[in-house]
Structure formats: structure tokens, C-alpha cells
Amino acid sequence: MRDTAIRTFDLRKSYGGKLAVRGLTLEVGRGEVFGFLGPNGAGKSTSMKMLLGLVAPTGGTAYVLGRPIGDVEARRRVGFLPEHFRFHDWLTGEEFLRLHGRLYGMRGDRLAKRAAELLEVTGLAGHGRKRLKDYSKGMLQRIGLAQALLNEPDLVLLDEPTSGLDPVGRMLVRDIVRTERRRGATVFLNSHLLSEVEITCDRVAFIKHGEVLEVRALGDFRAGESAVEARVIGLSAEALAGLRRWTGSVRLEGEKLTLEALNEECLPEVVAYLVASGARVYSFQPRQLSLEELFLRIVGSDGGL
């Protein structure tokens, strides 16, 4: 358990008979950047709230940094950015960070130095004396990130950290996540922006209806998870149909031929087949499935609630 930042076993939450999380079993190692993915209503935020002690589980067990969830000592080493980043908006940015620092038990010079440092890191150095009510959505998200990092946490839980940010802000979040990983912190990331997750995470869990469908390392692509995009002219209907012997997912849009779920070993055969059928092949680009395609494959395309 010492090397585990988060460990849950059969964690459940129901609201009046309706199951929001039904048996979440998960293990996140120390120092990992872990993505938590799923459609709306999959139970991601509820799970995160259970880990933080905001919501009491109906059943199951969970440990955060080796301590039972809700433990005050564990929270001393945890940072959290809530999804909707609502804060006391009558405070200035500096006051806000000082308040949350004091709640972490920080005082004096250490707190002042850390607050100034985080204002700098999050690009808010010139806005510390402005009230939060005058902050833009992106600035609020940045100051929220800063308060989550005040205590140099061992575990950072970020709920949709890039939802209000422009591309520059997203890059900033990526940099912060990388810095935290280098520092040795574990980052648990709940995000809808799969491209962000793809860039920043080591492993991801796909959840749906409050259950983990699959956990895998990014880059760990399995057989049948590569695709090909080709530019082909003169492909006959018969030849197109013939491609189905390798994969059921064949699409031809103009000159663009897309073949999904192919085994890498069969690629030379496919090229030979296309050429033999009389088609002219101008490009043949194998690639692995994007996280989005993987998400749709594992979670399905029926969407969230």
C-alpha cells in the first residue's frame, strides 16, 4: 500500500436506490499521472468526491496515500481542484491563496513565498490584488490550480482542469502536471479533453455506469487497435468489399480510404491486394488508434446522461 496513492475496492455510491458508482476497483501508483475517463454521468466526479471525503460511500473501501478516505492527515498531503472552481469571489487572488494556505496549516514567510511563487507559475503574478469576482473563467481556473498546489501535495486531484482554459492555459496545465510528476507527485486527472489526457497521462481508466471497464497504459496498444488512412484512386466496389476479409471497418470517402481495427501484421497483404485489384495507391499511412477512438471503442458511442 506504501507505493499506492489511491486504492479502492468495490467502492459504491447510491442515491435513493440509483447507483452512481457501482463497484469501483482501482489502483493508482505513486508518481503516476492517471486519467479517469468516462461519459457524462459515468460516476467520475462522484468517485473523486468519495476519494476526498466530500461524499460518503455506500459500500466498499478506499485508501488515499495509505489512509482511509476522509482522513484529515491524508488531506494534508492532497491538493484538489473542484470541477466548477467556485471560490470566495470577494477575496483577492493573494488573499484567497493565503486563506487556503492557512487551512493547510501554513503560516508566515513560507506561505507568502509559496503564494507568490504559484501566482507566478500560473501566470497571475500581476493579478494577485484583484478580486476573484473580476477574474475571467480561465483566471479562476488558474488560481484554483494554484490553491491545489499550495501544500506541495503528494497527490493532486484535478477535476476537469482545462475546461475553462484557452490553448495557452491548457499548455500551462500540461506544464504544471509534468512539473508535479517530476516532483514525484501523483496526479489524478478527470477530464473530457481526451487530447489533453493523451498528452499528459501515463495510464487511464475508462469508466461507465460507475464501473471500471478497463485500465491501460497509454501507448499500450493491442492487436487490432491500429488503423490505416490511404489515398486510393480507382478502387472498385468489389475490391472495396474484398477488404472486409481483414477488417469490418472499411470507409471510402472520395479518395480517402480508412481501415480500422487492423492487425499490424496484415498491412503488407492489404497493400498488395489494393495494387493487385488495379487501384492506384498514392499514400498508405498506418497509425494507432487515438485515445478518442479507443474511448469510443471501450466505452461505446451511446454518450452520457
Binding site: V72, V78, P82
Partner: protein, 278 residues
Amino acid sequence: MSAVRVIAALTCKEAVRRRVLQAAAGLGVAFLVLYAIGLHFVLGTIPAGVLRQPLLRREGLTVLTLMGLYAVNWLCMVMTILVSVDTIAGEVNSGVIQAVVTKPLRRWEVIAGKWAGFGAMLSGYIFFMAGGLLLLVRLLGGQTPPHVPQAIGLMWLESMLLLAVTFRAGASLSTLAAGVVVFGAHIFAFLGGWVEEFGSLAHSQTAVNIGILASVFMPSEVLWRRAAFGLQGPIVGAFGRGPFNVGSVPSDAMVVYAAAYMTAALALAIRRFSRRDL
């Protein structure tokens, strides 16, 4: 206890930043000025002969004092509910509380901190308003009613009781629903007090008992009536019958009950908030 201090300071700072404290102080000063002007002119219109008769003078000034304190008590009661009703329900509803309670503190510390912050501000307000009014009566009328410390203490207890009940309601309900419940309960107690008073006048024990039952349900108004009883003194109490006099005197046991009620309401607020999903 450190987190309690931080939350208490935050509560006071919020009241200042949102100009709640300034508005309440401004309203309070305006009220005291109005009362001073009113008292000055009322005293000026009373025939000199009447003013020279000690009993009539005492009765007149006592009624005017009770009238002023009655308004102060209502003002403090309304302030107590209005300023505190949103503090738990609003922060839960908006999600502001999430970033706070995920820090290394216990949830009871959040409630205790808010209680301490509001308690300190409301205590100051009650002492400022009641003390200011009594000072005006002293300066303009030359009279101080009896049992002033007890009366102010009882008004303070009423405010703290309402604060605890507001916290308890806010720990479960939305801001609006909590406000409706607490105001409703206090109005219920207020009406119960009048039923008890009329019952006492009409020598109807049943009506008196109904009034007492209402006070058992919500022992807020009963504290004002006990305070007013002490302030009116034995002579005015024996002869006077008006909207600000008290005929049916709430017992010591009822005051103790009110204090216990306040403690229980606060404990239940903490218990509910500690178990609530946020």
C-alpha cells in the same frame, strides 16, 4: 482550533467585504438617531406635572424604553437570520465549500468557525444597539431600567439561539427554505407568546399552556419576554398592560431550556453537516 480561527476570521471579513456589517451598522445608527429624536420630542410634549410624578414618569419612560428595545430585539433577530442563512446552504449549493472542506480540517471546525464569526459580530451588534438605546434613555430621560445586564444577556441568547437554528436549517435545506423555516418558527413562537399573554389576561390556563407549548417548540420569543419582564420592574409590571409589557412571566427553567435548545441545535447542525454529501 486553528481552522476555527481561520474560518471565523473569514466570516467576519466576508461581512465587511460584502458591506453587510456596514449596512447593519448604518441602519442601527439611523435607528438610534430616530429613537433619540422621537424620545426628545415625546419627553418635550409631556406636561411638566406628569414628569414630576415619579411613578408616571417611570412608567412612561419604561414603556418608551421597552418599545425601543422591542424594536432593537426584532432588528437583531432579523439580522441574525438574514446574515447567516446563506452561509452554509449557499456555500454548499454554489460548491464554494468543496475547496474548503477538502483541506486538512474537520467539518465541525467549519461550523464552529462560522458560529464564532457570526456570534462575535452579532454580540457586538446587540451590545451596541441595546447599550446605545439605554444610554439615550439615560441621557435624555435620566433613567436606567432595572436588570439591564440580564436583559441584554437574554437578548443575546435569543440571537445565538436563532443563529444555531439557522445553522441547523442551513445544514439540510436551501437558503430560501432555511430562511422560511427559521422565520416561520420564530413567528410561531411570537404568536405563541401573545396567546400566552392573552391567556394570562383572560385567566385562561389552556391558552397559557398553548403559549408555553409554542415556546417549547421554539424558545426564542420567550427570551425577549423574560428580558422585558426584568426591564419593566415590579411597579410597571403590576399596573401596566400594553404591547411591550409582560404579564405571563417565562420561568427560569424556560431560559435554561432555551440555552439547551441552542446547544442542541448547534450540535445537530454539526452532525448534519458532517454527514452530508457535498
